[in-house]
């Protein structure tokens, strides 16, 4: 078992596609919440294989993309605070804020370092005791527990120069907001696999129960997604709405209790700004009182300046799934992965980047 090849078998894929085509009679619109799924779908050309009854929409599940410009500006301003070392995951580097990106700030002299884990950031703090080290906390429930773990570790070891700018976001409540807005009507939700590994598939029950929308948690290999679509089609055809898991090797109904516990010990829910959606109640995470000294936002004096939005960019609408990347007049012209205008073109999980890179041959 290598956990890669088995989920890319062309023979099994053909069988699943055949079965989906055979069973699907009702028109159905499915949303893949997660940017990782958008990439799988585009990269392997899954849309071309689905029958015309099925429409696929890309959702807001790319943590880089949904980060609002005002929050990006904060990160960039923090990086410019003298002596600060700002540590970040790689995909944030090129995202343009109101006036610059972290990459440009780095070129202008800011000490911005790419890390692959929060523990690397903590190590940089240990190695540089005389300098403040800030970790740029961007991500969903997948990332937040690892950030919480680094904070608890820093607390235990007495590493006082470690801070986190917490821009974490929570997935289930934002889906609720999308559905309540009435802008998109869905017949099925492909629930994010990694997020669900932490929060559990039970976290999506309210969607199938209160909104009558079938939910299936999917992994990120092409066969995972095809299997997931197959399960959604079966529910639609039988007029059912349940939560199912097509990713049993990673997800349990109750999730990862230990990870949830860590997250809950350090953070509490708060309102968060989402690109294209504004401030949404209880979709962010801030430090609880006991750990507030790790909060970068209160530890430093910095001025992010006024927020500017890029002209003509429709990332906000793309994230709400009311328009697609190809509807944007900048797409592939003024905005490309080499010189991105909006974040959805930068992030490896952004819809615009996936549409641009894997274009699809119809």
């Amino acid at each position: 078992m290598k956990f890669v090849d088995e989920f890319r078998s062309s023979e099994l894929a053909q069988r699943l596609v055949h079965s989906i085509r055979h069973h699907s009679t009702r028109r159905a619109r499915f949303m893949e919440f997660c940017g990782g799924h958008t990439v799988t779908i585009m990269k392997h050309g899954i849309r071309q294989l689905l029958p015309s009854t099925i429409e696929m929409l890309s959702g807001p599940g790319c943590p880089v993309c949904v980060t609002d410009n005002a929050d990006l500006d904060k990160a960039i301003a923090l990086a410019r605070v003298p002596r600060v070392i700002l540590t970040t995951f790689g995909d944030m580097l090129k995202v343009p804020g109101s006036r610059a990106s972290l990459q440009e700030a780095r070129a202008a002299g800011a000490d911005v370092r790419i890390v692959y884990s929060t523990l690397d950031a903590l190590q940089i703090a240990r190695d540089n005791p005389a300098r403040p080290v800030v970790f740029l906390g961007i991500g969903f429930e997948t990332t937040a527990p690892t950030v919480a773990a680094s904070v608890l570790q820093a607390d235990q070891e007495g590493v006082h120069n470690y801070h986190v700018l917490s821009l974490h976001k929570l997935c289930p409540p934002v889906i609720k907001t999308l559905l309540d807005s009435g802008e998109v009507r869905l017949h099925g939700l492909i629930c994010p696999g990694h997020v669900s590994a932490v929060i559990g598939s039970n976290a999506w029950e309210f969607i199938s129960r209160d909104y009558g929308i079938p939910c299936v948690v999917s992994g990120f290999e092409p066969l995972d997604v095809l299997q997931c679509v197959h399960m959604l089609v079966s529910q639609v055809e039988r007029s059912e709405s349940r939560v199912e898991i097509a990713y049993r090797r990673g997800v349990r109904p109750e999730g990862n209790r230990r990870a949830l516990e860590l997250m809950d010990r350090v953070f509490e829910a708060c309102p968060a700004r989402w690109r294209g959606m504004g401030s949404v109640p209880a979709t962010g995470l801030r430090f609880r009182e006991a750990y507030r000294r790790f909060d970068a936002e209160s530890a430093f004096d910095f001025d992010p300046g006024p927020t500017l939005e890029p002209k003509g960019c429709i990332c906000g609408e793309v994230l709400r799934a009311v328009r697609t990347p190809r509807d944007c007049q900048l797409f592939g012209k003024a905005c490309t992965p080499a010189s991105p205008v909006g974040p959805c073109m930068v992030s490896s999980e952004g819809s615009c980047a996936a549409y641009y890179l894997y274009g699809g041959v119809e």
Binding site: V4, K43, S348, L357, G359
Partner: protein, 328 residues
Amino acid sequence: MAHGSGGKLAHELIEKTFLGALSNPLLARLDDSAVLDCKGRLAFTTDSYVVKPIFFPGGDIGRLAVCGTVNDLAMSGAVPLYLSLAFIIEEGLLRDDLNRILASIQATSREADVQIVTGDTKVVDRGSADRLFINTAGLGLIPDGVDISGSNARPGDKVILSGTIGDHGIAVLSQREGLSFSTALGSDCAPLNGLVAEMIRASQRIHALRDPTRGGLATTLNEIAAQSKVSIRIEEEKIPVRDEVRGACEMLGLDPLYVANEGKLVAMVAPGDAEVVLARMRRNAYGREASIIGEVQPDHPGRVVMKTRIGASRIVDMLVGDPLPRIC
């Protein structure tokens, strides 16, 4: 610093270290320029090597410099003959490290059957370079009747890849600071002129050759498609990728199609000769895992399309910017 100032210490460095390792009659004359006898069509190339770290699994900056230059010559069908090497050394580079690299240069140039005929050394202040940079130039002779170019691919040609992709890029990445993960994988860094010579002996109808270095296979195929004004159709299932490379790529969010190689080539070969060339390649140590991965087509000039494992098609674009590892 004194080693770089042109005085006695510099002489010592050149005579003891460099000549000791690389000696041949042309270099040993120590004149201001090498004098070479050549008749015929010449291929001439230059490149610079700044790889970090300078030692990596399966190679080092010296082997890389020789292979890279030799391969650039070989890809135009030339028989590589002479190389120049210029070293820019950061003050403080260990003498032992330099000796190791010179030994590796000597072994590789012997393997590739080329001579280092001229060279230069500069030592710069700490911080002005990163341990060691190497600049090279290479000269080769193109045999009569050989006409190989990135603009010669023709519709119907078969696309042959000489082996697995991504080995070099992942081997180097695995050693980078802050990203050390353990892998048994080594760089594929190798001189390909022997392989190319055998291919040319097997067929007069090899139209294009290129080594997919930085930017990976995807970028190389796009270059050929654009230069030759053709489209290239490849099949994902036919492209050999080692499990270690695929695993590391999955983990880091990279695509093996865009990861660098230093000992691989792609060839566009007339359909009638493809099997013969393939069979010959597989007998060479650097072509054992060669396979036909696709075909050149006349429609949509400049486009590279890949049939995915699950039977759909997608465009394969050039690499844009540096690939950066992802969040989740």
